[in-house]
């Protein structure tokens, strides 16, 4: 049974009609980070970091320094208003080092190698001009790479920062969330301290994703498909959704199969949000959870052939997802006309990604009439280029979309029309420059 929606070859609304393959990596490319308006860095298992020009696809720098695979990368830009902005990136690697790179010169600025274990995540607290590294313990560093403070040894974990708050959420143990507050004492001693504020234990399984919606709300998702909305002020659970795999919406799936598949099918791989909604990549599907209504308003249960690894909401109504199946899909969230007739045929109208027999659909439609999302995710286009799992993508607005994949490639997708126009512009500039005009 192929329930994945396909769009076919005619994709009028897909703007990406030109691609540029960026070669260089020799292993899986896992990370893409934006440096500024027109540059981004890619890093992966080969331990090399490349800096690219997002417009031309030109390879700007090739940064060598790590001996093992990169485990985390984050941009660290100086917010110093007086000077011109210095663009740095921090990279952590399995060789237990963190290196600070200067993106303008392509040089290694500094290297920290006093870690006891691999740093698994890096987070920058821009307002305080410090950065955190999370591994077996949590360390706070300033720009000069002085260790400000650290927690005691704990088990394996990730760290997240919640906005610019001096707050750190740190995932401990199975499903346990530890909140730290970073205390800055402003006397001469300049002493920093990480104060444990709260432990949240509502999740049943590993927390895989966390997104902070605003200063007062953050959302977490776990491996078993729990989605919990937290209040960031009093650490209470505002809402939770854990019926992504609810059998009521999967009437045709046998329980046994569900059980065997559940771990993969329901894990919340990635979360993203705008002001109103949280977009969750759950298994192969995409769910839109409205924070106001506290329910899923739209979903695409099988958006891809395999797990969705990364999703992002674009400034317009579009949503991009990438998956292990090697494709990138562009979705549009639009309001559904409430026409009952539209409910019946499946497969064409994207209501439910699972195309089932008409009879069942009709029954289900009746049954779930009130439960039906008011919005639908419409497939606008898909980008097929990678031959292996697309790990991540980076949306550059007009400049296009960069995707990285396990096939060692970074592909830059571009709007062909725009590129053509730009080339014409360049051409006539060059003509004028040469005096040929």
């Amino acid at each position: 049974k192929s329930s994945v929606q396909t769009i076919g070859e005619e994709q009028i609304r897909n703007p990406y009609t030109e691609l540029l393959v960026l070669n260089g990596h020799q292993d899986i490319v896992r990370f893409l980070v934006q440096i500024d308006d027109c540059r981004f860095a890619s890093a992966g298992d080969d331990g090399i970091i490349f800096i690219w020009n997002a417009q031309t696809g030109e390879k700007l720098f090739e940064l060598h320094g790590h001996t093992h695979k990169i485990t985390a990368i984050t941009p660290f830009s100086s917010s110093d208003a007086s000077e011109e902005k210095i663009h740095l990136i921090l990279t952590a690697s399995a060789d237990r080092t963190v290196i600070v790179w200067d993106c303008t010169s392509g040089r290694q600025v500094q290297k920290v190698s006093c870690f006891h274990s691999t740093v698994k995540c890096l987070t920058v607290l821009q307002r305080l001009d410090v950065w955190l590294s999370g591994g077996s313990d949590l360390c706070v560093w300033n720009r000069k790479l002085d260790l400000l403070c650290k927690t005691s040894h704990l088990t394996d974990a990730d760290c997240y920062s919640l906005g610019n708050f001096p707050l750190t959420v740190w995932q401990h143990r199975l499903g346990e969330l530890v909140i730290f507050r970073l205390i800055v004492s402003n006397d001469e001693s300049e002493s920093w301290n990480l104060l444990e504020v709260k432990r949240l234990v509502d999740h049943q399984d590993n927390i895989l994703s966390l997104v902070s919606v605003n200063d007062f709300t953050f959302v977490t998702g776990s491996h078993v498909g729990e989605l919990i909305v937290w209040d960031a002020l009093d650490w209470t659970k505002q809402a939770s959704e854990c019926n992504f795999w609810d059998s009521s919406v999967h009437p045709d799936v046998q329980p046994e199969i569900k059980l065997s598949q559940s771990s993969n099918e329901t894990s919340v791989q990635h979360l993203t949000s705008d002001e109103e909604c949280v977009f969750a990549a759950v298994g192969k599907g995409i769910y839109v959870y409205n924070l106001q209504m506290k329910r899923v308003i739209a979903c695409q249960r099988t958006a891809h052939d395999s797990s969705v690894l990364h999703i992002e909401k674009l400034p317009n109504t579009q949503l991009i997802s990438c998956s292990e199946d090697g494709s990138v899909r562009i979705w549009e969230l639009r309001e559904k006309q409430q026409l009952p007739a539209e409910l019946a045929p499946t497969g064409f109208f994207n209501m439910w990604g699972f195309g089932r027999a008409n009879k069942q659909a009709n029954q289900a439609a009746k049954k779930m009439q009130e439960n039906t999302p008011m919005y639908i995710l419409d497939l606008v286009g898909d980008l097929i280029g990678h031959s292996s799992a697309v790990q991540m993508f980076l949306y550059f607005g007009e400049l296009g979309l960069a995707t990285c994949s396990a096939d060692h490639l970074v592909i830059l997708w571009k709007d062909g029309e725009r590129e053509s126009r730009l080339r014409s512009l360049t051409l006539f500039q060059k003509l004028a420059q040469n005096g040929d005009l």
């Binding site: 070859e9 005619e10 691609l19 080339r423 360049t426 051409l427």
Partner: protein, 934 residues
């Protein structure tokens, strides 16, 4: 390639290569009567049926002082070539027109024999009785034993086609000059070494004689000399004189400027400097007596000095050196290589040569677009400066020589000036009737006067203005001298506008059918100041009207209109505005001259048979007609519509087909190819048929043949070709490598190149494809396998199906987007009458060139891409762009995408920085594909 002749002479039928294409023969009563002479194997286009040789050849003759004019060798060296043609008689003819002032021996008032550094003369000669016309290149070689040390030779390019000789005069002149220069260099080398040996001998003889005299003196103290002793003393004196003379000669020959080492790929040998050694015995006083002619040593195999007897043998007893012996062997073989190359270059009909030259000349102007479809061999040609290298070499040579002269003898410049003035007073044109023995004499005497004033060092240049019965001098020797820049510019050798010269030739030829025409004698290229090298006009390919600054754009929108009804559209008032805008944004709008009436084309003389006699005139006319054909092309439905009136495939027109076939085979003969490639003259200026040509010619033929077969066999050829032209990768899938490769070869002629150096065609792939492959290759031959690996291959194909069109060679299906345009149907008409691969190839090239010009126009029209004013919306620009494509360029449906794709390639190529390779982008469309079946 611009034009595509496909005229088949109605003489033979069995030559048709295409076995697929066999029509039932017409009933006798409907058939076209054959050319009356067809039974004799005579081609109706052969101009002079009376010629006794079957093809052009090169003849080297000598005016032997013993037996008179005699032929030495022919190239190709095959008795079949010259046939019954009387070489001896023709040698007499061609040698008799050499009126070089080959003065030798003692000039009056000079003590020593002088060497004359006579420049070559170039003469066109016709003999209508023999049906032979020849370009004759006279040169002199030095031989110590010859009278006056010189041996006159000539190299003649003999053809039955008078027009060919006249049209190709410049090219022939350039090529032969190079060969001659090479031969002469070798000869000087040989001559110098001969002199050295001779000097050694003389030195030795002197020592011996001296010793004998001493012995005699000692033995005889009677106080008087015996007759024997006197004899010995005389002998000694004569030997010493001889030594001085030979030293003098050696100095003269050495003073001739050798090519410098920087051009060493042409003449890698640095002349050995044995001057010191030779000078060793030269500090004797001079005595004046009769120069003793010593002719004993035809061969001096070693440096072992030998005794020389004072009395020489009788002149006619000795055996003269052969041409080979006269020249250093290295240079000799190289000269032969060059001559073979010349023969290869100029074989075939003049139409073909001219068409080729015109194509090249035009292609050079299209330097922005020609990377798209032209072969690399065209594009690999050296930049223009380099192409003058031959001339530059000559000039450089002499410049260096001049520096030498100046440093040694400053008076040279002055005397050259006066020399020039003397030459200028030579009448430009001598009438046929004039018994013009006076003029040459006068010239000579003037020259001699100067000669006397000049030191031998500046005796390089010796004009040869000459005449015989019925000689027309169309252009005489121009001698640019070391004067000021502007002056010498004015007197640049040979009129830089070939048209005028040519037309003159044409008109005159009708008058004097049986005349000898001296188009130009050797310009004293040696004296051209270096600044003018670039405009030296002997390399005619580069020459065409570089003066006009027309830019690249050659069409106004109006001319570009294809269909008559579209023209009407434009004439409508609402569209006129559009036209104005477009013409305003056309870069080359200031080139209205191509709208001039094509007067030249009007007068196309035909002879009695109604056969067009005048081959394509070079350059401007041809180009005009080309434009005309562009304009008129689409109005014809058939393929032949747009062809030039005289676009005839040369191989049909040469004397006989066998010959042409032979020549083709020879052309591709690997040994000859290697030899010419291995010869060090590889940097010679590219000629219409340069060494790479034979290979590419064959490829063209094969590809064209395969393509013809493809379009006839596959009804869905059009969408497949559309895929290629619009940049969508076409994959030819098949089990058998040979079949797939054949298809790929056939289709490769439709693939636009993405850059200068990448031909995006991959003939055979066995592994699964990736996106990168589609970015790199536009035509891929893919193996279909039954194994699991093959499943992967197919899986990858279906995954990336949106980027590719798939032509299944096994099941004969094609999966690709729909094509509804009109362009490809013109390009690949399955009912085409074209039968030959090479012709079809040219046809394709001509349509693709037309397409390129459209793409060029589209790319470089500013307002089609950018807003005219600030307020203009992007939408209106898009509208304008689409209007232009549809109305102005007359493109329909998918044809627009082709031009857009080509335009993108042009843009990418143009904006690409020279240093970097440029990122190839993969552009694609989200369009549905359809499955075509036979």
């Amino acid at each position: 390639m611009i034009s595509a002749p496909d005229v088949v002479a109605f003489t033979r039928e069995e030559e048709l290569e295409d076995e697929l294409y066999s029509e039932p023969p017409l009933p006798e009563e409907y058939s076209v009567p054959l050319f009356p002479f067809a039974s004799h194997g005579v081609n109706p286009w052969a101009k002079v049926a009376s010629s006794k040789f079957t093809r052009d050849f090169i003849l080297i003759s000598e005016f032997s002082e013993q037996v008179g004019p005699q032929p030495l060798l022919t190239i190709p060296d095959d008795t079949k070539v010259s046939g019954t043609f009387d070489l001896n008689y023709f040698s007499l003819r061609i040698m008799s027109v050499d009126y070089q002032a080959s003065f030798v021996g003692h000039p009056p008032g000079s003590a020593y024999p002088k060497l004359n550094f006579v420049e070559d003369s170039k003469v066109v000669l016709g003999d209508s009785k023999e049906g032979a016309f020849a370009y004759v290149h006279h040169l002199t070689l030095y031989d110590l034993e010859a009278r006056g040390f010189v041996r006159p030779f000539c190299m003649a390019y003999i053809s039955a086609d008078e027009h060919k000789i006249m049209q190709q005069f410049q090219e022939l002149s350039t090529e032969f000059s190079k060969a001659s220069e090479c031969l002469k260099t070798g000869n000087r080398k040989a001559f110098a070494s001969e002199l050295e040996k001779k000097l050694k001998d003389l030195d030795y003889t002197r020592t011996v004689l001296h010793n004998e005299t001493e012995i005699q003196k000692k033995a005889n103290d009677k106080g008087y000399y015996t007759t024997q002793a006197i004899e010995k003393a005389n002998e000694l004196a004569s030997v010493e004189k001889s030594i001085i003379e030979h030293q003098d000669l050696l100095k003269q020959i050495r003073s001739y400027p050798y090519r410098k080492l920087k051009e060493s790929d042409f003449h890698p040998y640095e002349p050995e400097c044995l001057l010191d050694q030779a000078n060793a015995g030269c500090d004797q006083d001079l005595t004046t007596s009769e120069p003793g002619e010593t002719h004993l040593y035809a061969h001096v195999p070693s440096y072992t000095p030998k005794l020389i007897k004072a009395k020489s043998a009788k002149c006619f007893d000795k055996k003269l050196k052969t041409l080979e012996e006269l020249c250093d062997i290295y240079f000799f073989t190289q000269t032969l290589d060059q001559l073979h190359q010349i023969e290869r270059t100029f074989r075939g009909d003049v139409c073909y040569l001219l068409t080729d030259q015109i194509s090249r000349a035009l292609l050079k102007r299209q330097n922005i677009t020609n990377f798209l479809f032209e072969e690399e061999s065209f594009l690999d040609e050296k930049p223009p400066e380099k192409q003058y290298r031959g001339c530059q070499g000559l000039g450089q040579d002499v410049i260096d020589g001049k520096c030498l002269e100046e440093s040694q003898a400053p008076k040279v410049v002055i005397s050259l000036g006066s020399y020039k003035s003397s030459v200028e007073c030579v009448p430009i044109k001598m009438e046929q009737e004039i018994e013009d023995s006076q003029e040459p004499k006068m010239t000579e005497s003037i020259t001699f006067e100067h000669q006397e004033n000049l030191d031998y060092l500046d005796a390089d240049i010796k004009g040869s203005i000459s005449s015989g019965e019925s000689i027309e001098v169309l252009g005489t020797e121009k001698s640019a001298s070391g004067l000021t820049k502007s002056e010498s510019q004015a007197s640049l050798p040979v009129s830089p506008s070939p048209q005028t010269g040519r037309s003159k030739v044409g008109s005159r030829r009708t008058v004097s059918e049986d005349s000898i025409e001296v188009l130009s004698t050797c310009p004293s290229e040696s004296l051209i100041p270096e600044d003018f090298k670039a405009s030296y006009p002997s390399a005619i390919n580069e020459e065409p009207y570089v003066d006009d600054e027309e830019g690249g754009l050659r069409f106004t929108p109006k001319l570009n209109l294809d269909d008559p009804d579209e023209q009407e559209d434009v004439a409508k008032p609402e569209n006129l505005v559009q036209v104005d805008i477009d013409s305003a944004c056309c870069i080359g709008k200031e080139s209205p001259n191509f709208l001039e009436p094509l007067t030249d084309l009007g007068q196309k003389p035909c002879d009695e048979d109604g056969v067009v006699r005048i081959p394509p005139q070079p350059y401007r006319q041809a180009e005009q007609s080309l434009r005309r054909s562009f304009g008129g092309f689409p109005s014809h439905d058939g393929i032949s519509g747009g062809l030039l009136p005289y676009d005839l495939d040369s191989r049909y027109l040469t004397g006989s087909r066998e010959v042409s076939k032979n020549s083709l085979d020879e052309c591709s003969d690997s040994t000859s190819y290697i030899s010419s490639a291995a010869s060090t003259c590889s940097d010679r200026t590219p000629s219409p048929a340069h060494p790479a040509c034979s290979a590419s010619e064959r490829h063209k033929k094969k590809a064209g043949q395969n393509a013809l077969r493809f379009i006839r066999q596959y009804p869905f050829a059009h969408p497949a070709i559309y895929s290629l032209l619009s940049g969508r990768t076409l994959i030819v899938l098949g089990e058998e490598e040979a079949i797939v490769k054949k298809l790929v070869t056939a289709l490769s002629i439709f693939v636009p190149n993405c850059g200068v150096y990448t031909k995006p065609v991959k003939h055979w792939v066995t592994s699964p494809l990736h996106v990168v492959d589609f970015q790199k290759w536009k035509l891929i031959g893919l193996q279909r396998m039954a194994s699991p690996a093959g499943v992967n291959v197919l899986h990858a194909l279906s995954r990336y199906s949106r980027y590719v069109s798939i032509l299944d060679a096994d099941s004969k299906t094609l999966r690709c987007p729909l094509y509804k345009g009109t362009l490809v149907s013109r390009l690949a008409d399955h009912r085409t009458q074209i039968k030959r691969g090479s012709t079809y190839y040219m046809h394709v090239q001509s349509i693709l060139t037309q397409l390129c010009s459209k793409a060029f126009l589209f790319t470089f029209c500013h307002h089609l891409h950018l807003p005219i004013s600030e307020r203009e919306t992007e939408e209106s620009v898009v509208n304008r762009r689409m209007n232009f494509l549809k109305l102005q360029l007359g493109l329909a449906n998918e044809d627009i995408k082709i031009v857009q794709y080509l335009a993108e390639l042009l843009k990418l190529q143009y904006i690409q920085e020279p240093g970097q390779g440029g990122n190839p982008v993969l552009r694609f469309d989200y369009v549905p594909s359809f499955l075509y079946k036979i």
